[in-house]
């Protein structure tokens, strides 16, 4: 298992092949402890949602799992290049076309057939007819689709998505989720963060609730519902109950 403070250390995951294992991740920004010994385990083909309020540490956790940031303590069993990552903010070149962005990253990923990968991703994201448009001229939703497509280019067996559907309309969101569910069905492990409790409940097999850098809950969406109802009481809807649950836990 790799020490996450040196996240680029290569590690072969033998006992949990195809899975993601993070243990005791700690991240500090000055005096503030953003992650307080967070552990996360995702099995092969599992779809795990990380939910929590703003500032809970969701993006920091995914960044460490992706190898973008270094943890101050803890370990991750995957090398950064063995994990697909879709950042929350679109990471694209506005002066390049959709196809050029995809082709650039396909080449940097050293894919055997970059052009075929580009074509596949254009079809997947429904952007074939916009392939030659500059990314700067796309809507926010379409940019996010290209952003996701680039994260999927490497076809790694672990995929991290940081709020993937935040700027998509319902139809685009549905298309992306169909694709993600297709990946998990083929054995890809997917960990994603979201604000949307309904989205987490609808798609995730397991939910991890983060608040102030601590894991408050880990289990199935149904189990989360029970805990929220028990600790958050009846506030009319699930979101209200969830907020009350966080408050009950001291957050």
């Amino acid at each position: 298992m790799a020490d996450a403070s040196t996240a680029t250390t290569p590690t072969s995951a033998t006992d949990v092949e195809g899975a993601l294992v993070a243990e005791g991740i700690v991240k500090r920004f000055g005096d503030r402890e953003a992650l307080k010994g967070v552990s996360l385990r995702a099995a092969r083909g599992e779809l795990v949602a990380v939910i929590g309020p703003n500032g809970a540490g969701k993006t920091t956790l995914l960044s460490i799992l992706a190898g973008v940031q270094r943890a101050d303590a803890g370990s991750v069993n995957r090398r950064p290049e063995d994990v697909g990552w879709v950042p929350q903010q679109t990471a694209l070149y506005g002066k390049l076309t959709v196809a050029e962005n995809l082709r650039l990253f396909a080449r940097l990923e050293r894919l055997d057939d970059p052009d075929a990968a580009v074509k596949g991703m254009l079809e997947l994201t429904g952007l074939s007819d916009r392939a030659d448009d500059l990314v700067a001229e796309l809507s926010g939703g379409n940019r996010q689709r290209v952003n996701i497509a680039i994260g999927l280019l490497g076809r790694q067996d672990v995929l991290l998505l940081d709020e993937p559907s935040a700027s998509l309309d319902p139809r685009q969101r549905e298309r992306v989720w169909d694709f993600i569910l297709g990946l998990t069905a083929r054995g890809t492990t997917v960990v994603y963060s979201t604000h949307d409790l309904q989205e987490a409940a609808r798609h995730a097999e397991r939910v991890v609730v983060l608040a102030d850098g601590e894991v408050l809950f880990e289990g199935s969406p149904a189990a989360l519902g029970e805990v929220v109802e028990r600790e958050g009481g009846t506030h009319g809807d699930f979101e209200g109950a969830f907020v009350a649950f966080l408050r009950h836990r001291g957050h």
């Binding site: 903010q89 990471a91 694209l92 070149y93 390049l96 650039l104 940097l108 990923e109 500059l134």
Partner: protein, 457 residues
């Protein structure tokens, strides 16, 4: 790295406005700086009035006639003469008209040569009591820099004219001395040609007279002969003395440092160094900061490209682009300034070394600032002071301040790049130390950039 390089070139190609600005701004700026340093102000516009009557345009110096218009022509080559229309027979009118030209702004100065110029010069020669002629200069002192320049120009030209006339007068004086010593004929107005005996012939006559003279008369004649001999011998020595009066102190100038680069050649090196600095810094810093602004940096460095490779790519991109532009600039400047094309391999080496050092500094700036606007602003704010610091001449400030400017200049690539280009273009010194200096700065700024990338994302 190759794909990133191609990506950046494609982005640049699609930003024609930015590229045009990036290229034109430093080129125009550097050419302006170069011209400002290499060329003085234009010839000053000077209202010129000569009240000397046309028939008095020649000066009679002994057996030689000197045309005074030659001195006017020499003066006109140094100034832009503004014609003054006036009645030359009325001295006051012309003087007033010349002053009006200055006061109205049509001329920055006026030079009035008096009508008795020739007569008075002639009088100087004849040891007349009137004294030398007086030329009047009126100038506008609103602009102190220009006024000083005009004053210097006119004084310098009049000094040259005075020196020329002094030479002529000296030669005339020497010819008179020669006449006294050796004897000969001289033209005297009204009297015509007059034979002058001369000391040598007088001495010979006295020697011959001594033979038939009584002892007492011989003794007296001997005294006359001795006087004549001593006078002749001492007057023979007066020639070198009088000639040395024309230039009592001769000046021998020796350049101790910096070779013999002409101002225009140095201006070329300076213009290219400034362009190289601007283009490379802005490109390197801007393209690196752009990776962060586009949020692409985290995606790139998580296994696709190493941070060091990314820095090298941005440095190379900026260096290659600025190198190409500066080579074109040199080719263009070569049409106007005489460059030694045989040294072009050295230009390439100096340009490449300078571009790489500036590139490393640029990525360090980009990594530290993390935003394109901040990076561009810092590059511009650093560039101009660095250029001026490197140009502070010794002796113009206190030794401590000069040492400080040299120490600060040594920390950045501009001064060594300028030295390298000057050495390569003009053979003004050893290229090696400047290249080593640039290599050290390339390594230092590369390291600084790499450290700054730790907090870049």
């Amino acid at each position: 790295m190759r794909w990133l390089l191609l990506k950046d070139l494609r982005i640049l190609r699609r930003s024609p406005g930015l590229v045009a600005l990036l290229v034109l701004y430093p080129v125009v700026l550097s050419v302006l700086i170069g011209f400002a340093l290499s060329a003085g102000p234009d010839k000053p516009r000077v209202a010129f009035v000569s009240l000397v009557p046309p028939e008095s345009g020649e000066l009679d110096l002994g057996n030689e006639r000197v045309d005074l218009s030659r001195y006017e022509e020499r003066l006109f080559s140094a100034i832009d003469p503004v014609p003054v229309e006036c009645n030359r027979e009325k001295r006051g009118d012309c003087r007033r008209a010349a002053v009006d030209k200055v006061e109205s702004g049509a001329a920055i100065a006026a030079l009035v040569l008096p009508g008795d110029l020739t007569d008075r010069l002639q009088g100087v020669q004849a040891l007349a009591a009137e004294g030398p002629p007086v030329a009047e200069v009126f100038y506008n002192a609103d602009d102190p820099l220009k006024a000083a320049y005009v004053e210097d120009t006119i004084k310098s030209e009049l000094r040259d004219a005075n020196l020329s006339l002094t030479t002529k007068f000296t030669e005339v004086g020497l010819s008179y001395l020669d006449l006294i010593v050796e004897g000969g004929e001289v033209d005297v107005p009204l009297a015509g040609s007059v034979d002058i005996l001369g000391l040598r012939r007088a001495e010979q006559i006295v020697e011959r007279a001594k033979a038939g003279a009584s002892p007492r008369e011989r003794q007296r004649l001997e005294r006359v002969a001795r006087f004549s001999r001593l006078a002749r011998e001492n007057l023979d020595l007066s020639g070198p003395v009088l000639r040395s009066v024309r230039e009592p102190i001769k000046v021998r100038t020796v350049a101790l440092d910096g070779g013999n680069t002409s101002l225009s050649s140095f201006a070329v090196a300076l213009a290219v160094a400034v362009s190289l600095m601007f283009i490379t810094l802005l490109l390197a810093a801007g393209t690196l900061a752009l990776e962060r602004e586009e949020n692409a940096f985290p995606r790139l460095v998580r296994g696709l490209v190493s941070r060091t490779a990314l820095l090298l790519e941005k440095t190379s991109l900026a260096a290659v682009c600025s190198f190409a532009i500066c080579v074109l600039m040199l080719l263009g400047l070569g049409l106007f300034v005489d460059l030694d094309w045989g040294r072009s391999p050295l230009w390439v080496v100096a340009l490449a070394a300078g571009a790489l050092a500036f590139g490393a500094m640029g990525v360090a700036v980009g990594a530290l600032t993390r935003e394109v606007r901040a990076a561009s602003l810092l590059c511009v704010m650093l560039s101009l002071p660095l250029a001026f610091l490197a140009l502070v001449p010794s002796g113009s400030v206190s030794p401590v301040l000069y040492d400080t400017t040299r120490a600060i200049s040594a920390l950045f690539p501009f001064k060594p790049a300028l030295d390298a280009l000057d050495a390569a273009l003009n053979d003004s010194g050893d290229l090696g130390p400047a290249l080593l200096h640039l290599a050290a700065l390339f390594a230092a700024f590369g390291l600084l950039g790499r450290l700054a990338l730790r907090r870049f994302a």
